[in-house]
Subunit: 197 residues, 2 copies
């Protein structure tokens, strides 16, 4: 990696938690200068605008998340166990253990839908990728006889995503994790009693 590439990576790595915590509008250029130790010119050498940097920072946060989900999926073979491992990742996300500032999809969707269409598009893709991942697991689970045949894969995926993102939101306001646990207990019961074959 050249020195320029290393500087670019450093800017992204330090700006990514800022954007995820404070939102696009909440991060000033001077906050990025402070976090990176660079002057304005040093940042603009690598990124044409704060918006451009925010898009790369979002991708950076999403890569960390995607890696964690992939590890969860590969930790089990049974489809229902895979789903449960995926849900557990959200508990870690809520506890700030995956990406500083919580879930980038949640954070970005709320801010960007009214302000920045390119960020909103990325959040939408992040959500769609999650739904597609879970839908595939459910389909395969039905084929293998691990999940009840009458299950609607897309409906189940949407319901799980809604409940987990809502739980992550609740943890922002009550970080003790009690409500996250209520939601996980409910979904666990549901997956065992109504989804597992």
């Amino acid at each position: 990696m050249s020195k320029g590439e290393r500087t670019r990576e450093m800017i992204v790595a330090r700006a990514a938690p800022l954007f995820n915590r404070r939102g696009y509008a909440g991060v000033s250029l001077s906050a990025i200068m402070e976090a990176t130790g660079l002057e304005k010119g040093g940042i603009y050498r690598h990124f044409g605008s704060k918006e451009e940097l925010s898009l790369v920072a979002f991708d950076h946060n999403m890569s960390a998340l995607a890696e964690r989900f992939e590890a969860a999926v590969h930790s089990h073979r049974n489809a229902v166990d895979r789903l449960k491992a995926i849900l557990e990742v959200h508990r870690e996300v809520a506890a700030d253990h995956v990406v500083p500032g919580g879930c980038p999809i949640l954070n970005t969707a709320v801010e960007a839908d009214d302000t920045d269409p390119r960020l909103a598009e990325r959040a939408r893709k992040g959500m769609d990728d999650w739904i597609a991942m879970v839908t595939r697991i459910v389909h395969r689970g039905i084929e293998r006889g691990e999940i009840r045949a009458e299950t609607d894969p897309a409906a189940l995926a949407s319901t799980l995503f809604a409940a987990m993102e809502g739980a992550v939101l609740m943890a922002r306001l009550h970080p003790d994790g009690a409500q996250m646990q209520h939601v996980l207990t409910h979904l666990d019961w549901y997956l065992e009693s109504a989804v597992r074959a």
Copy 2:
């Protein structure tokens, strides 16, 4: 109402949708001046700071929401029917029919937890009030024999809140309402098959 009071109310009514759509950091003083047709001095005569105005604007948005929930509760006598009416309000919230810009708790929780403790406190209270309202309905439903005795009121309330706020979030990214419908269908099935006595 005096002229000053009317002006104050006008500022709140016009600033409230701005804050709910764009967030605290996303609303500049000049945007408030444009929306109200007032000069800087005219706004500062009524509110000491943008932060102070944002708190009153949040309360304004929450009143509209609380009124809608109250009407939903009083539209039915049976506890499970009351819960279902409450969930339907979230569909209206997601469709922007209650407060412009969607759910103020969702919007504020995501932005304010890292930036403004007074706004975060208000969002927390909004969520706690919702949970308390649903918990009371479930308690009463158990007493009246409308809801199964083994139901955990607080756990059910947290689960419903998480799922509905998650569904509102999903509707920000896919406004066609299909995913909201999946979530409502799931919760309807759950309330009928595992909660109703």
